[in-house]
Amino acid sequence: MIFLNINNLNVSIEGKKILNDFNISINEGEVHAIMGPNGCGKSTLANVLAGNEEYEVNSGKVIFKNQDLLDLNIEERAQKGLFLAFQYPVEIPGVNITPFLHASINSKLKNEKKPELDNLSFAKLLRKNAEELGISTDMLKRSINTGFSGGEKKRYEILQMSILNPELTIFDETDSGLDVDALRIVTEGINRFKNPKKSFLIITHYQKLLDYIRPDYVHVMRNGKIVKSGDISLATEIEASGYQNF
């Protein structure tokens, strides 16, 4: 099975080209990191994979779990097991995480033709996973992301990931705006979730996150394409001398 294969993907927004013959392959269970300077197209890649309609795909192919991903709309991609941990999770006043996530997980289960979760089993699952991430029951009662600190928002993203149980998780600069303690809590959550069936695409600017989650591959991205691939030592090189060598 082809897990994720992106082939010569070209993407633009308002006529401006952002991804330029972009290629990558990710197998089941692999952790990939993409590093690059601001404006190189990292976040565009994350949002195009999630199906954000602001971007225009000009050409190229994306296969996810043997299916053409570009044929699916946002929610269909999510139901198929693609999860995007947002760089800036949006506030939704008045909407509580419980009905929100319960509806989400059930739409995914329904899509997989599995039995849906009733209120009680969902509440148990939510409480258990929240506890593991150090999220208090008080916090679960608040509206989604509303008035949350940066660290709280990111922890909430990880909580949602752990419940929805995606096969592919994309982290869009999850480390941005986090202090060392918050980063530790978030990465512990990710590491606990890792297993040979899950794949990750970590988009980041700095090496720090990669000290906690060791990627199998590191790619350097510039001007809308990958310019170099290697292992973790590539990240160390960038940390030492920046992106100008690429």
């Binding site: 946002i74 929610e75 947002f86 999770p89 909407v95 989400s104 739409s107 509206s143």
Partner: protein
């Protein structure tokens, strides 16, 4: 806005009304038009005492000299008062049926279809219902049980016969018939509605509720409700309304008066779901409603909660006159307008007594081509020492063709009064929809979730049995496919 969003929104805008059926039943109607004769006819039908008829005729004379209020942000053709039936009753309603065995099965079926069973064993536990069909009350449930506590819950026509002293004392005491043309009109021709009296220190053990149904064509419904909570008593009351789907406009002009004496509390909730007209703005109910509560005694409290989803035109300002010291007035409102609906709704809080407090939470949601206006008037009279008001007014726009307006008036004659006003206007934003959809929810589910979240502060004020219903109604008002 992307195409998918606009497609989904168009789908919402083509929402279908579930209660649009007509009950085929012979009804008795005098000829169209308004004059002294028709008022005498109504009064005679209801076997009213002379004082009642005189009161009506007096109000009619006032009405003749008045013009309809023009200040609202509403556009509709001038109402031809001579082209309306003022009375319509299913045949055989000379006397109100004693029990359900005397009621035409078609009527019982109508209420079953509306989800309001009238057989007590099937009725929602803990809710007593008065069912009003066009101009008459069809049935009142749980009456006997309430009587044991001294609670009077019956139609207003019945109360005029059985409790004339209370009706005489309080009818028109909160809404003077000369207040404006709709209140004068209602006072002249009101047909039915509910009457509630809660005796001293009695906490009413169940929700009282009236369900209004307009069935007959070209007929106006003039509902009159009077609720009196005596010292130290408590009552929670709920009103629901629907009408058949027709392409002509129909008039509903209600007057509702609440009186809370010392330490009494009245909680009044409305779920208004009159036929709103079709997607081109044809047909629908003109809803001109005057609702006013008087906190007459010290420490009394009146709380209005309304969920307004229907009607072609809504003109409605449930208000509180805070006369007793330390009395409290509250107004919680959700108004949803879709297609070509127009709503001009809000409240009036008049602070007269010391330490009186009022709270206004208004949530307006506009979709389609609709116009949604919040209009509020908060005033503090000279003696209203240390009175305070808090107003929060939020508007949510869905789509690009609708409008939201906020018009607050504040008038203070007392320097110690404190007023707080917060207002916001927002659009459901693409980022929120994207976020929800990335978690696997469809466009419709996401909009419904966000709107329900937006209204939550108000919906949670509704009695529990109805909060769930109201939440569903909110979703249905937004969606074409659900329900």
């Amino acid at each position: 806005m992307d195409t998918e969003t606009s497609q989904t929104l168009d789908k919402y805008a083509q929402d279908k009304y579930k209660y649009g059926f007509v009950t085929e039943i012979d009804s008795e109607k005098p000829k169209k038009g308004l004059d002294e004769k028709i008022i005498k006819f109504i009064s005679n039908k209801k076997k009213e005492p002379e004082w009642m008829l005189n009161w009506r005729l007096n109000c009619y004379k006032k009405w003749l000299k008045m013009n309809d209020p023009q200040w609202a942000n509403l556009k509709f053709p001038k109402i031809d008062y001579q082209d309306i039936y003022y009375y319509s009753a299913p045949k055989g309603f000379e006397k109100k049926p004693k029990d359900l065995s005397e009621v035409d099965p078609k009527l019982i079926e109508t209420y079953n279809k509306l989800g309001i069973p009238l057989e007590e064993q099937k009725v929602l536990a803990g809710v007593a219902v008065d069912a009003v069909f066009d101009s008459v009350s069809v049935a009142t449930t749980y009456k006997g049980e309430l009587e044991k506590l001294g609670i009077v819950f019956c139609s207003i026509s019945e109360a005029i016969q059985t409790h004339p002293e209370l009706v005489k004392k309080y009818l028109g005491s909160v809404i003077p018939p000369g207040d404006h043309s709709f209140s004068a009109l209602n006072s002249a021709v009101f047909t039915d509605g509910s009457f509630v009296y809660i005796p001293e220190n009695v906490k009413c053990p169940m929700e009282l509720s009236t369900y209004f149904r307009i069935n007959a064509e070209e007929t106006g419904q003039f509902e009159r409700t009077l609720i009196i909570a005596d010292k130290g008593s408590y009552v929670s009351y709920l009103e629901g309304c629907t009408a058949p789907q027709r392409d002509t406009n129909q008039l509903h002009a209600a007057n509702v008066e609440l009186i809370a004496l010392e330490n009494a509390e009245i909680k009044y909730s409305t779920v208004q779901n009159w036929y709103p007209g079709d997607e081109d703005g044809k047909g629908g109910i003109y809803n001109f409603v005057t609702k006013r509560g008087l906190c007459k005694g010290k420490n009394s409290k009146i709380s209005w909660t309304q969920v307004e989803t229907g009607s072609a035109v809504t003109w409605k300002y449930p208000s509180c006159i805070l006369k007793g010291d330390n009395s409290i007035g509250e107004f919680y409102s959700v108004a949803i307008t879709n297609n070509f609906q127009q709503a001009d709704t809000g409240t009036k809080m008049t602070h007269i007594g010391k330490n009186t407090r009022s709270k206004i939470i208004s949530k307006g949601i506009s979709l389609g081509n609709s116009q949604n206006t919040y209009r509020g008037n908060v005033s503090f009279l000279r003696k209203a020492d240390k009175a305070r008001n808090y107003t929060q007014c939020d508007s949510l726009l869905v789509g690009n063709k609708c409008g939201a307006h906020t018009i607050p008036y504040i008038d203070s004659k007392n320097n110690s009064a404190i007023v707080e006003h917060e207002a916001s206007t927002s659009k459901i934003n693409e980022d929120q929809l994207y976020y929800c959809r990335q978690r696997g929810l469809t466009h419709e589910e996401a909009v419904s979730l966000i709107v329900n979240g937006f209204c939550k502060q108000v919906l949670q004020e509704l009695p529990m049995e109805f909060a769930v219903e109201a939440q569903k109604l909110v979703s249905i008002s937004l969606e074409g496919s659900v329900g």
